[in-house]
Amino acid sequence: MVDRIVTGAHYGLRDWLIQRVSAVIMVLYALFITAYALSQPHLDYNSWTRMFSSDILRSFTLLTLLALYYHAWIGIRDIVMDYVKPAGVRLVIHVLVILALLLYVIWSVQILWGM
């Protein structure tokens, strides 16, 4: 029997999975929006806002943006862990990225439901 000492924070598999699930959500949204835009004979302000007036599309958009922010967090965190070695600098960057993404969440809701 192998006596294996398991160390680490154990978020690896969860993040790996979230990165892929969020990617699939964004792919579906990108294909949907592209297909919709191409199907419009004349894309202007009216058709654009009419599309975003539906609560289903607003929710789908917000879901995609939330997936995007989580996806961005995992990606940026990985890049920072690879290239930024001093713990203090790394901590500052991590905090700033998290704060920015949280503000983007609030901003996204304002954009979609405050129009």
């Binding site: 792919v27 940026i76 920015a100 983007y104 954009i111």
Partner: protein, 124 residues
Amino acid sequence: MNNKRPKFLALHQIRLPLPGVVSILHRISGALLFLILPLLLWMLQCSLRSIETYTQLSEALRHLPAKLFLLAVLWAFLHHFCAGIRYLAIDLQLASGLARARSSSRWVLAVSLGLTATAGVWLW
């Protein structure tokens, strides 16, 4: 562990294989897209808020530097998109082996550049 081993990392002398090129571009395009997120959100806001902000935005995007910037953003998105789909395919074991890794890398580069060029023609 001996931490005094000599390191030799001359970036200009490293010649990445094709899948490595796709991989580092995936990383660079991802970082780029993250950095311009506030700008993209602001553009979405302008496009939805009112007919005035919508018109102002579309006027501003008519200029050459803005169009070139949009194309660069579009390439970053399309490369990240195509390379990401390639990684999903690799996870599903649809593109294993060196030959397929190389040919799928070539596809990613070609499709993202081709779609960017198509969008460029459509933009002008």
